[in-house]
Assembly symmetry: C2
Homo-oligomer: 371 residues x 2
């Protein structure tokens, strides 16, 4: 049986510096996971990802189930070999994507039914099926199927989401057959503290490898999101891995780390990359702006990423305006590197017990510059 | 003054193995030049290009003049630094692109007038302006402005194209100010042998570093193209560099090399890459086909390129169908590598005096398989 472990090395101002051991290597936490929805991080190749400092990434069960299908991924050697990615992988359960379908899906006590957007066929997902698909995909960490709510969510729906998600957590655990994957449960409850308590209590009573917090970053403002994230983190066991789903913008990560989460994922670095938005220590830089047309400097002067050590702002602006896909790639590489450096810097700050000061400085430079 | 030279090492069945020395290194010929129209080979980064065996590439004066403009490229360090490409660069003169505009341009004895497709402004290109722009762009090899004809071309137009192109060649040479670039003249004359003779005679009388053959690969079939290319090559000085413009499909390159050309350019490897078409020794492979869905093998089994050593046909098919830009990149890298290997193999075959046998074998595998 493959070895998994999560150990905390240091704590500072609520933030935890840890080590997540997986069969695909050790991941230093807090860790940011770039999103490879369809088995590829948009425009970025695996060796480029490794060079950004990425050690774990997220793939989408929903997307891969629809295309090419888990059987194809299994036949092609499982997700790691399929993608050519030697590091760790987490697959979500499809709960969030199904949630996003809105009217196109229906949730009953046993599972969810939705339409395949590629061919219109009806698809049925139960907790057991979600585990089964993820076992075929072969990630290191897998997620239970959950009932994810939107913002705002009526209390009755949030109650139902908690109840169903807890029951599905138990069924997911029982459905697991592979011994070389670890399952994470998902806390729901929207912004209702008592429901978050109820959800966490139900899940913590079961022996999961880690706990995720879902139903946040679904439309509420950062303040509400962080308040709920902070409250919910306090309900989770100290020694277990904590994953704050869908959170990963530079303006949110420091506070989220200080809440005590270890894993994060977000499409922002690559999505911003495709929109010509360069993340820098002093806020976002819009590469389209005319002022960068003759700018020989690197996108971010202090950055040592491939993009910043090889290309000028002027060239990136040109590529972006000319519609060259190379622009997406180069800016995405920088943005992921920027995010990974932020995580590494926070880890160091936690170990040196100065997370609070780090966060203040970062916010002053990043958010201060933006406003 | 920078050093330029062209030396022929061996000749076999009409094909020439040579060495083109430029300030950016020595290019073994026959050489294929990938096309970086807007200052980037579509989806492929410079280090990836170097790994395919590419030592020289083509950039488009027309596209770069329109955006970002030669002054911006100059301000950003010239084409090599702008693109991050340390190898040699050739810029075309814009003649071919202007030709492609059809009704949107008018050619008089002094130059051409056309509309900027980006902002509608009228643009005037003369032989002097084309040289001036190319001097600002800073390529190693530059091209005279020419009058490129279509297929079919009335004799009167072909006559005019020859007359104007010869006059513009002289003006281009006189307009050159930089000493670290070499100018190539362009033979026109469509499919009229006497006009090709007249064109070549006029240009060869002037002391150009090399001679290009234009007005081919513009719609005529391969047989007509190769017959004209073969005839025209015989009109050019033995010891000078010869560039067959716009020719670079695997089915055309062997015969074109046997005509005695040294340089080639073509968008096919990258365009095919974006359309999911993988060039292989046994013809093109359409990655979309269902039969590759579970294929664990590399795109081309014997290939040592980045793509073939890291990814399966099944994964590339998935990326292509999912619309992931990574597919364009990976297949383009393979297709350029395939083309460069073909050039290197031909060079070896010329040195070993077995070009004829090589071409027969290649055609049997590549074209035989396709039919």
């Amino acid at each position: 049986m493959a070895e998994f472990a999560f150990k905390i090395d240091a704590v500072s101002s609520g933030g935890r510096a840890g080590r997540l051991t997986t069969p695909r290597g050790v991941v230093s936490t807090p860790a940011f996971m770039p999103v490879a929805s369809r088995g590829a991080v948009r425009a970025v190749a695996p060796d480029e990802l490794a060079a950004t400092g990425t050690r774990i990434l997220v793939a989408n069960t929903y997307h891969l189930h629809l295309r090419p299908g888990e059987d194809a991924v299994a036949a092609l050697g499982g997700l790691h070999r399929f993608m050519g990615w030697p590091g760790a992988v987490l697959t979500d359960s499809g709960g969030f994507q199904v949630h996003s379908l809105g009217e196109l899906r229906s949730i009953d006590d046993d599972g969810v039914t939705f339409k395949n957007y590629i061919n219109g066929a009806e698809i049925r997902l139960t907790p057991e099926v979600a585990v089964h698909i993820q076992e075929k995909l072969g990630a290191d960490l897998i997620m239970q199927l959950d009932y994810c709510t939107s913002y705002p969510t009526p209390r009755e729906e949030a109650e139902r989401a908690v109840e169903i998600t807890t029951r599905w957590a138990d069924r997911s655990m029982k459905a697991q057959k592979r011994g070389d994957q670890r399952l994470l449960a998902i806390v729901q409850g929207a912004l209702y503290e008592d429901l978050r308590e109820e959800s966490a209590a139900g899940l913590v009573a079961m022996d999961f490898f880690g706990f995720a917090v879902g139903g946040l970053s679904v439309g509420e403002d950062s303040e509400k999101m962080l308040a709920a994230a902070d409250f919910t983190a306090g309900l989770l066991p100290e020694q277990k891995l904590r994953y704050l789903m869908g959170v990963g913008r530079p303006q949110d990560l420091p506070a989220a780390v200080a809440c005590g989460y270890d894993l994060f994922d977000c499409v922002v670095p690559t999505r911003e990359g495709r929109h010509g938005s360069v993340l820098t220590r002093n806020g976002r830089l819009n590469i389209q702006r005319a002022e960068y047309g003759l700018d020989e400097g690197p996108p971010e002067p202090e950055c040592d990423c491939y993009t910043c050590t090889h290309y000028s702002r002027g060239y990136l602006r040109h590529l972006y305006l000319a519609g060259e896909g190379l622009a997406d790639r180069l800016i995405s590489i920088h943005n992921i590197t920027f995010t990974q450096r932020l995580m590494a810097d926070m880890r160091t700050a936690i170990i040196e017990d100065r997370l609070d000061a780090f966060i203040t400085d970062f916010a002053e430079a990043y958010i201060g510059a933006a406003s």
